[in-house]
Amino acid sequence: MSVAAPEEGAAGQVRVFAQYDGDVRERCDVVVVGSGPCGSVMAYELAAAGLDVVLLEEGPPYTPDDFALDGATSMVRTMRESGLRATRGTLLTTMQANVLGGGSVVNSAICARPPEFVFEAWRSNFDLEHTGREALDPHYDAVADFLGIAPTPDDVQGDRNLLFRQGCDALGISSEPIARNVRGCVGSGECFTGCRARAKQSMDLSYVPAAIRAGARVLTSVQVQEVRAQGRRVTGVAGQIVAPFTGKPGARFEVEARAVVLAAGVMATPVILQKSGNLANGSGQVGRNLQFHPGTATIGVFPDPVQPYFGATQGYQSLHYLRDGFKLETLWAPPGVFGVRMPGFGHDLKRRLAELSRASIFDAIASCHNSTGEVRARRGRSMNPSLRWRFDPQDVQVLGHASWVLAELLFAAGAHKVLPGIHGVAEEMHSLDEARVLQTREFAAGDFVNASTHAFCSTRMHGDPSQGVVDEFGRCHDLDNLWLADTGIFPRCTSVNPMFTGMALAHRSAGVVKEAL
């Protein structure tokens, strides 16, 4: 895709909050709910095929002037529930973006294809015949070509990413530059608060404008609260216009359509179905099987300045331990986020904070198949979910193993101390010997500050209609013209960052929707 000039009047195909002066009614072939990575791919592919598409998004579009550089303000503006969403059971903080482009606006653009063993587990456990790497590779390729997905080049890695490579080399484990949907990265490390350099090909800059060029209409600041159905067919969606940032509800809207694609996200799609009279739930699986990739991050402090403000937010990764249940990555975030992690008080704390310019942060995300939960609609009008999740003790040990490897990696990269950020062990470790406690300790879920932005499986696919909500092409088993297209349809977590797989599956599903219409 190259920089393209939109047709004159294309801006008229986008409606924003300031333009609504009463109830809204639209009619189309396909209404797509959610403009995140999966919904945007769907909207573009279907519009490009000549279908009349309406794309709905609860959040507003953002311009660079709208990005807030401090973490807390950014989360209030771009996330549902101000970025303070958490599960009950085992406490885990998680997020759902609320902006045109969805999570792609505030993620670090990682595009990873899961290895075949992940799909082999999907196929053998969930009666799926057509969902393997070989079958999906053409769809990954199509999305990669469109977004310019490529490995992060060395000139924007910066020291903190290159130290990861150095550590992996020293330990003799594999590593690779992270492939990202980025064109012309300047290395500002600001992916999580929105790319001011407009290099990240988030959906609002890529697939959504392309969908508009292909004729799609985009309604922003609209919250879908109901899917309407008659018998085995859905007839459209309805909801309310909501104000940016505050979510204050206003006038009503409805969209009649020949087909509906729900791509509202793992934590919103089940709520919409449950609030629509428990729609598509013949299997009883809507909202169940919720999985995450819980993560842990370790800070390494190096003798020399690392200048961590420069470099790709996440530029290097290692898949070496994927079969052991975790993936290793580099990480950067707004400084306040790391300020939260720094142990201690008073002048000790300040001394540690002043060392941030010599710090590099590596993290691990764990494949926690045994740790599951559920998404439930709350009573009343709220569309926010009630989440429950339990961190299985076996999976906790996987994260414990990962924390040992992270410490090993940081020392191998030349760190003179590491801060594991885990309750019950030393706050600062000055040698590998000191860190060995991470190798032998029996960890509890509460030892970690649990967080995850990767969520899965709340409307899972399954070949058996009594075991899953959708088939492997995203079509609901119970309804002829309702498709689901977000990472909720994954039958298990992907072990790697999920965005790319979600987009590839959406690309494939779009072909099926086209044929069905």
């Binding site: 190259s2 939109p6 401090d70 529930e81 350099a197 403000y309 309750h423």
Partner: protein, 223 residues
């Protein structure tokens, strides 16, 4: 009234008065009128932020000098009602939990903001290292809010070398489609001829100038 009953009434009234004083009394007036938080909540935040980030040391500013109480006031005002309420309950809980968990030293039952700096540090450290996960969670939640506020201060960010750099955002196709948040399409200020040509991006230099909001003011005062 029998003497015993009178004494009980006097003691009861005294306890109520002490309770009211504990919650409402003796808080300094803030310099700026707050947006959402009360004077006593700002007083608590000043005490908590200066416990975590005292004056001097590796970073010059204390928590209150870095504007954490005012930042938190704006932050809470921006939160949806129930979330903001939970946050204020958190402040109340920490301010008054000394009734149940006394701080070490004399009169450790006083509200948190009335304790000495040494007592505050020791008491909060007890929450941080507690074996009870809910107590650690309370501490982590409080520290998260204070840390976000501390690192929102431009001077703090400059001192740790992490202030954002100036970036000229190129004009892309999306800028011809979307107005700024809250505005209508008449606020779209770009046209086709304004589009930045592909390949114009330049990698950020290590000595790139700071973002204007984070640069020192021309008169040398702290921004």
């Amino acid at each position: 009234m029998p003497l015993g009953q009178a004494v009980a009434w006097i003691l009861g009234a005294g306890l109520v008065a002490a309770g009211l004083w504990r919650v409402f009394g003796g808080h300094p007036q803030p310099a700026e009128p707050p947006q959402r938080l009360s004077r006593r909540e700002l007083g608590f935040l000043t005490a908590a932020s200066d416990t975590l980030y005292p004056p001097g040391g590796a970073i010059a500013e204390s928590g209150s000098e870095a504007g954490i109480p005012a930042y938190t006031d704006r932050y809470v005002a921006s939160l949806p009602g129930p979330v903001g309420l939970l946050m204020r309950l958190l402040f109340f809980l920490v301010e008054h939990a000394t009734i149940a968990f006394w701080a070490p030293g004399p009169a450790g039952w006083r509200r948190f903001s009335a304790l000495s700096p040494e007592q505050r540090t020791a008491w909060l450290d007890g929450w941080r290292t507690s074996r009870l996960p809910p107590r650690r969670l309370v501490f982590t939640s409080l520290r998260a809010i204070l840390a976000m506020g501390y690192f929102a201060d431009p001077s703090v960010l400059r001192q740790v070398g992490l202030a954002p750099r100036a970036i000229d955002s190129p004009v892309v196709e999306a800028d011809l489609l979307y107005p700024p948040v809250g505005r209508g399409p008449e606020a779209i200020r770009y046209r086709r001829e304004d589009l930045t040509p592909p390949g114009a991006a330049r990698v950020l230099a290590l000595d790139a100038p700071l973002h204007p909001d984070y640069a020192p003011r021309a008169d040398g005062s702290a921004s």
